[in-house]
C-alpha cells in the first residue's frame, strides 16, 4: 500500500518516518529541495521535488484506489485542492490538514460528497488536548483508550515524590494499573519489573480511569480544581481553548502583544478577558493575579518564550504550567528544568493521522513525546493466531508490553499467565520501529511480503519517472 505525503514539514516527516518502518511504501512530495534532502538522508522513502506543480506530480505517479493521500502543506487551500484532485484520480483515502475554522464549517457537505475523508485541525485538536490535561492536573499528558474506560497518564517525578528510587514491581502490584513507559533524558524505555524510578523521569501510568486517580492521590498527587487560567499568546489554539474554557465556566485571560489581534479576539470571545501586553513581563503577570492563577498556558509562537514564561509563572505562584513546544528536541529539556507539562501540536496531529490510516485494525493510537514509542489499541478478530496462549509464552517482539485487556467492558491489567481471547480489545505499548511487527504478530494475517524480489514490480504498476 502506498502513502503519498504532500508537504515534508514536521507532521509530514513524522508520518513518513513512522509508516516507512512498516510495510507501507511512502512517497513524499514537496517544493523545497532542502527539506527533501533531509528526508532522503534519514528515511527510506521516495522523495519527489515538484517544482511547484504538486498536482502534476500527483497525476504523474499515478494515484490508484489503494493509495492514501495526505495533504499537510502550509496552505489550507492547497490541501483541499490536492485532496480534490487526488479523489479525482481515484485515491483510496484522503487526509487534509485544515487550519482555518471557517473552511471547516464551509466544508460541512454530506460525507460522500466531500473529497476529504479525514480533516485534521491541529489547533483545535491541541486545544482539546489541553482541556483534557486541565481536568486532571497532575498529569503531563492524558490519552484515552477503550472509549474512555482506560487512561494513560504521564507524570513527571519530582524530587519530593515518594516514587523516587522505587522499583517498578512495587508500584505495579495491584494489577489495576501499570507503569508502561519511562522517558528518561529524552530516551524512551519500555521497562521491565526490575527498573528503578529516578527523579526527573516521566512515567506513563496506564489503567482503569478511576484506579489511576486513586493511585495518584496515594502518591500525593491530588488534582487541582481549575478556576482561573491565564493564556499567553492569542493564536488559533488560544482561541479554541478560550472557547472551551468559557463553556466550562472557567475564568480565562489571554495576554497578547499584537493590538490588532487583541481587538479581533475580544470581538470573537465575549467571555474572555483580553490583555494587551508582554506575557514575559513579570509586573504585568503579577497585576493580572498570577499568584492566584490555577493554570498558566503558554501558547505563543516561540518555544523559548513559552518555556521561560511558564517557568516565570510557576515561580510566581501559578499552580500548573503548560508550555507549547514545537521543537521536539526541547521537550525533554523543558521537563528537566521544571516545566511540568509540554504539548507539541505536530505530535498530536501525527498520532491522529496515523490512527486514521490504521483504523481498519487499530482502534486508537497515540505517540509518546519524542515519537519513539506508540500505544496502540487493537481489536482481536476471530481468526487471530495469538489467542488462548499465555502472554509469557507469546514471544512478543522486544520492548513490547500488552498493558491492558478489555473484555466485556471489564479492564484487566494482565499477568504472564493471562491469555488474549477472541473479540478482546487490547492496548499494547511498543517502540515505533517494531509497531508494524507487533501488529502482524497479534493480528496474524499473512501480510508480510514473502518474496520482495518480485513484489517491486507487482506493487508498482505505475512507475515514477526519474
Amino acid at each position: 500500500m502506498r502513502v503519498i505525503i504532500i508537504g515534508a514539514g514536521k507532521v509530514g516527516y513524522n508520518i513518513a518516518s513512522a509508516l516507512s518502518k512498516e510495510m507501507y511504501d511512502v512517497i513524499v512530495i514537496d517544493n523545497d529541495e532542502e527539506v527533501l534532502k533531509k528526508v532522503d538522508d534519514t528515511l527510506d522513502v521516495l522523495t519527489i521535488h515538484s517544482n511547484g506543480l504538486i498536482g502534476k506530480s500527483l497525476s504523474k505517479i499515478g494515484v490508484n484506489k489503494d493509495d492514501i493521500v495526505i495533504a499537510v502543506t502550509e496552505s489550507d487551500e492547497t490541501n483541499i485542492l490536492l485532496c480534490l484532485s487526488a479523489k479525482h484520480l481515484e485515491a483510496g483515502r484522503t487526509i487534509a490538514r485544515i487550519r482555518n475554522p471557517e473552511y471547516e464549517n464551509d466544508l460541512s457537505l454530506p460525507k460522500e460528497k466531500l473529497p476529504i475523508d479525514f480533516i485534521i485541525n491541529p489547533e483545535k485538536t491541541t486545544a482539546e488536548e489541553i482541556v483534557r490535561l486541565l481536568t486532571f492536573s497532575p498529569a503531563g499528558m492524558i490519552n484515552e483508550f477503550g472509549d474512555g474506560s482506560v487512561q494513560m497518564v504521564q507524570l513527571n517525578v519530582q524530587d519530593d515524590s515518594p516514587l523516587n528510587n522505587k522499583m517498578l514491581k512495587e508500584q505495579n502490584n495491584q494489577g489495576k494499573y501499570l507503569i508502561a513507559a519511562i522517558i528518561r533524558d529524552g530516551e524512551t524505555i519500555i521497562p521491565k519489573g526490575d527498573h528503578y524510578i529516578k527523579t526527573g523521569d516521566n512515567i506513563f501510568v496506564i489503567g482503569q480511569k478511576k484506579e489511576i486517580a486513586g493511585y495518584f492521590s496515594s502518591i500525593g498527587e491530588v488534582p487541582l480544581e481549575i478556576k482561573r487560567v491565564i493564556i499567553l499568546g492569542g493564536g488559533r489554539i488560544s482561541y479554541y481553548l478560550a472557547e472551551y474554557m468559557s463553556k466550562l465556566g472557567i475564568s480565562t485571560k489571554i495576554i497578547e502583544k499584537d493590538m490588532e489581534r487583541c481587538k479581533r479576539l475580544s470581538e470573537e470571545l465575549p467571555d474572555t478577558l483580553i490583555i494587551h501586553g508582554d506575557g514575559t513581563d513579570l509586573e504585568l503577570l503579577k497585576s493580572e493575579g498570577i499568584a492566584t492563577t490555577d493554570a498558566f498556558i503558554a501558547l505563543s509562537g516561540f518555544d523559548e518564550e513559552n518555556i521561560l514564561a511558564t517557568l516565570l509563572a510557576r515561580q510566581n505562584g501559578a499552580k500548573k504550567g503548560i508550555a507549547k513546544v514545537n521543537r521536539e528536541n526541547y521537550i525533554s529539556l523543558a521537563s528537566n528544568i521544571g516545566v511540568d507539562t509540554t504539548i507539541t501540536p505536530s505530535l498530536i496531529t501525527t498520532s491522529k493521522i496515523l490512527g486514521f490510516i490504521r483504523r481498519e485494525t487499530v482502534l486508537s493510537l497515540s505517540l509518546l513525546p519524542g515519537g519513539e514509542a506508540e500505544v496502540i489499541e487493537f481489536f482481536i478478530g476471530p481468526e487471530t493466531r495469538a489467542v488462548d496462549i499465555p502472554l509469557k509464552e507469546l514471544n512478543l517482539p522486544e520492548d513490547t508490553i500488552i498493558t491492558t485487556i478489555i473484555r466485556d467492558n471489564k479492564v484487566i491489567i494482565p499477568h504472564g499467565q493471562d491469555v488474549i481471547k477472541k473479540y478482546d480489545r487490547i492496548i499494547v505499548i511498543t517502540k515505533a520501529e517494531t509497531a508494524g511487527l507487533v501488529r502482524e504478530f497479534l493480528l496474524g494475517k499473512e501480510r508480510i511480503r514473502k518474496n520482495g524480489f518480485w513484489t517491486g514490480f507487482k506493487n508498482n504498476r505505475s512507475s515514477v519517472n526519474r
Partner: protein, 479 residues
C-alpha cells in the same frame, strides 16, 4: 562518523563477495582444474574477515554523507584486494600489484588486462575475471543493499555514491526494492544475451563470460584476440546490440517493463546517445571505406568500435590503431563521453555532456540578455542549479585529472599517445587505448608505479571522482 556502521556494511559486502566466489569454484570443479584450491582458500579468508567485520556495533543512525562515501570508497578498495586473492593463489600472477590491477580493472568494468596469455588460464580464473565485471557494473553495494533489510535507515547515500550519473534516485519508495528491480533488469538482460550468443554460435562458457563483460560494459574476453577470435558477424552483432543496451539508463527499462514504451523514445538523453553514436558511425564508415573498399564491412567495424568505446566496454574486433587519424580522433573523443546516466558504463555520461552544452548555450544567451533568468531543462525537467554547478565542476575535474595523470605517465617511459590514452581509458573504464596500450597490446609492460596509479584511476572513474577524492581531502576527516 559512525565507524561501526561503516565496518558492518563492508563486512556484509565481503560476505556477498565470498558467496559470489562460489560460482568460479563450481566452474573449476566442473572442469576438474587445479585452481579450485585457490578459490576455496579465498572464500574462507574473505568470508572470515567479512563475518568478523559484520559483528561491528553500529550506532543506530542513518547512513549520512560521510558514512556513504566511506563505505563506498573503502568497500571498493577492499573487494578489489580480496578479489585479487584467487589470482595470486592460482599462480595467475606472481605479484600482488598485477593481481590487484586485474581485479580493479574487473570490478570497475575497465577491462584493461595485464595478463599476457589469457587462453592458457584455467576456466575458474577466467570465469571469476568476467564475473567481477558483472558485479562491478551494477555495483556490488547495490546488490548488498538489495539483500539487507535496511530497517529504519536510509542507505540512499550509499546508492548515490556508487551509481552513475549526476542525479541518481529511487524507482520505488523502498531502497532495497529499487536495488532489486535494477538487478532484475540486469539479470534479464544477462539471460537474454547468453541465449542469443549461444544461438549465434558461441560455446556456453564463452557466451556466459562474454555476456558478463558486455552487460557490465567491462571488456575482458576469454580469448587473446578478444571478439576477433571468433570471426563471426552474428556474434559481433549480438555483442554490439547488448553493449548498446547496457549503455542506456536502466530506469528506462523499468518504464518499458511497466508498459510505458513511449518514455524510452521521449527520453532526451537516450535520443542524444543514439544521435552521437549514429553520427560517429557514419563519419568513421566514410573515412575508412576508402582504404577497406567494402562498405558493409566498414560499417560493421565502425559501428562495433563506436558502440564498444562510447559505452566504455572496450572489446576488440580489430586493431583500430591502423585506422586513419580522423577516425582515431573520433574514438578518442568518444572515450570521454560514456553512456547514459544510470547505466553500467563509465565516462563523463551523456546527461552531463548535455547539461554542459545547455550551460554554455545559456552563457551565450546571457551575453545578449544580461538580465535574463533561465533554468536549464532536459526533456521538460528542470535541472536544479546546484546539480548544474556540480556537473560543471565534475567535467572540469575530469579534464584536470586527465591532464595531470597524463603528465605523470610521461615520466614513466611512455609516449604521448600511449600515456594520454591509457589515462582516459582507465578513467572512463574503457580498457584499450592507443599506441602501446592499444587493442592489440595490453598493460603488462607498464611499470609497477604506473599500474598502481592506473588502478586508482579506474576506481576514481568508476565512483565518479567525488566519492574517492573526498576521502583524501582534509575537510572530510575534520569533525
Amino acid at each position: 562518523m559512525d565507524s561501526g556502521l561503516v565496518l558492518k556494511t563492508i563486512g556484509h559486502l565481503l560476505i556477498v563477495e565470498a558467496v559470489f566466489m562460489i560460482a568460479p569454484l563450481g566452474v573449476s570443479i566442473y572442469y576438474g582444474e587445479s585452481d579450485f584450491k585457490a578459490f576455496f582458500i579465498a572464500i574462507l579468508i574473505t568470508a572470515f574477515v567479512g563475518t568478523i567485520l559484520s559483528f561491528s556495533r553500529a550506532r543506530k543512525e542513518a547512513v549520512r554523507y560521510k558514512e556513504g562515501f566511506m563505505i563506498v570508497g573503502l568497500g571498493w578498495l577492499l573487494i578489489s584486494i580480496f578479489g585479487a586473492i584467487p589470482f595470486l593463489l592460482a599462480g595467475t600472477f606472481d605479484n600482488f600489484i598485477d593481481a590487484f590491477f586485474e581485479t580493479v580493472s574487473g570490478f570497475t568494468t575497465t577491462g584493461a588486462s595485464v595478463l599476457k596469455d589469457i587462453e592458457s588460464q584455467p576456466h575458474g580464473i577466467l570465469f571469476w575475471r568476467s564475473l567481477t565485471h558483472w558485479l562491478g557494473g551494477m555495483g556490488v553495494l547495490a546488490f548488498t543493499l538489495s539483500l539487507l533489510p535496511a530497517v529504519g535507515m536510509s542507505s540512499l547515500n550509499i546508492l548515490k555514491a556508487e551509481s552513475t550519473g549526476p542525479t541518481p534516485g529511487k524507482l520505488v519508495p523502498k531502497i532495497a526494492e529499487t536495488a532489486r528491480i535494477l538487478y532484475i533488469i540486469y539479470i534479464l538482460l544477462t539471460g537474454l544475451e547468453i541465449i542469443f550468443l549461444k544461438i549465434g554460435g558461441m560455446p556456453l562458457f564463452d557466451a556466459v563470460t562474454h555476456t558478463f563483460a558486455t552487460v557490465g560494459t567491462g571488456g575482458f574476453s576469454t580469448k587473446n584476440k578478444s571478439i576477433a577470435a571468433y570471426n563471426m558477424p552474428s556474434i559481433e552483432w549480438v555483442i554490439m546490440i547488448f553493449t548498446f543496451l547496457a549503455g542506456v539508463n536502466f530506469s528506462l527499462y523499468y518504464d518499458v517493463l511497466m508498459g510505458k514504451f513511449k518514455s524510452l523514445f521521449k527520453d532526451r538523453e537516450f535520443q542524444f546517445y543514439c544521435t552521437v553514436i549514429g553520427i560517429a558511425i557514419i563519419l568513421i564508415t566514410i573515412n575508412i571505406t576508402d582504404s577497406w573498399g567494402n562498405i558493409l564491412l566498414s560499417f560493421r567495424q565502425a559501428a562495433f568500435q563506436v558502440v564498444t568505446i562510447i559505452t566504455s566496454t572496450g572489446f576488440a574486433t580489430l586493431d583500430y590503431s591502423i585506422w586513419p587519424a580522423f577516425s582515431k580522433m573520433i574514438l578518442f573523443i568518444l572515450m570521454f563521453f560514456g553512456g547514459c546516466a544510470g547505466s553500467t558504463s563509465g565516462g563523463i555520461k551523456i546527461l552531463r555532456v548535455m547539461i554542459v552544452f545547455k550551460y554554455i548555450k545559456r552563457e551565450f544567451y546571457k551575453l545578449i540578455h544580461p538580465n535574463s533568468v533561465i533554468s536549464i531543462r532536459i526533456g521538460g525537467q528542470t535541472i536544479p542549479e546546484n546539480v548544474v554547478q556540480n556537473v560543471i565542476a565534475f567535467v572540469l575535474l575530469y579534464f584536470l585529472i586527465f591532464a595531470g595523470l597524463s603528465l605523470i605517465l610521461l615520466t614513466q617511459d611512455m609516449d604521448l599517445i600511449s600515456s594520454t590514452s591509457a589515462v582516459v581509458a582507465s578513467l572512463s573504464n574503457i580498457g584499450p587505448g592507443f599506441g602501446s596500450v592499444g587493442p592489440a597490446m595490453n598493460y603488462a609492460g607498464l611499470t609497477t608505479f604506473t599500474k598502481i596509479l592506473l588502478s586508482f584511476t579506474m576506481i576514481l572513474g568508476r565512483l565518479e571522482i567525488y566519492t574517492v577524492l573526498i576521502l583524501i581531502t582534509p575537510i572530510f576527516w575534520k569533525d
